[in-house]
Symmetry: C2
Subunit: 110 residues, 2 copies
């Protein structure tokens, strides 16, 4: 009782925080729908300044949900599939107590 939060609670909160801004939701939707994307291409779709977009990309990167590969002068952003799957499992088990999907995911993992 009254101990620290569990690591699952912290992980779910961390991923939730990463998705707690509509710009970041849109970024993930773009990356999920078209494999990879450059920051500039997203900037034409998302209604914020490029420097602000860059900050949101950094936050998603820090949360582990995306990776950025440098192809100067551009940077190619992609979903980090391993952590995306981790987040997916966390949210599915949080919202849907039917565990079968999670067991499948675990059995496919590495």
């Amino acid at each position: 009782m009254k101990g620290k939060y569990s690591s699952l609670q912290n992980d779910l909160a961390r991923f939730s925080k990463a998705l707690s801004h509509p710009a970041r939701v849109q970024i993930m939707e773009i990356l999920l729908s078209q494999s990879c994307c450059y920051s500039g291409d997203m900037a034409t779709e998302i209604p914020i300044a490029r420097s602000t977009l860059s900050q949101h990309l950094t936050e998603l990167k820090n949360a582990g949900l995306i990776d950025g590969e440098i192809e100067l002068p551009r940077i190619r952003y992609c979903v980090n599939t391993e952590n995306w799957e981790k987040a997916r499992i966390l949210f599915l088990s949080f919202f849907d107590k039917d565990i079968s999907i999670i067991d499948d995911a675990n059995s496919c993992r590495k």
Copy 2:
């Protein structure tokens, strides 16, 4: 092209924000596991001051995820099942995107 965010994006961000703190994740877990709960009972499990807990409960209430029924001097909190289902559907559809797209992403990676 650079329009406002869609209502689905805003809704998902709003629910994500509600779950973006481990205390609020724990609150939802408690309420989901035992239908309803009094603030004081949660206070014995969650490692924050009662006044801070009250703030988190208010945030979850504002996000629509929980309701509070007054039974003075206590308040009985319950999951708002309608909005919980709404959030559940949003998250499930967000995370259930076709994974093959992600495989494409890997195959096109330099």
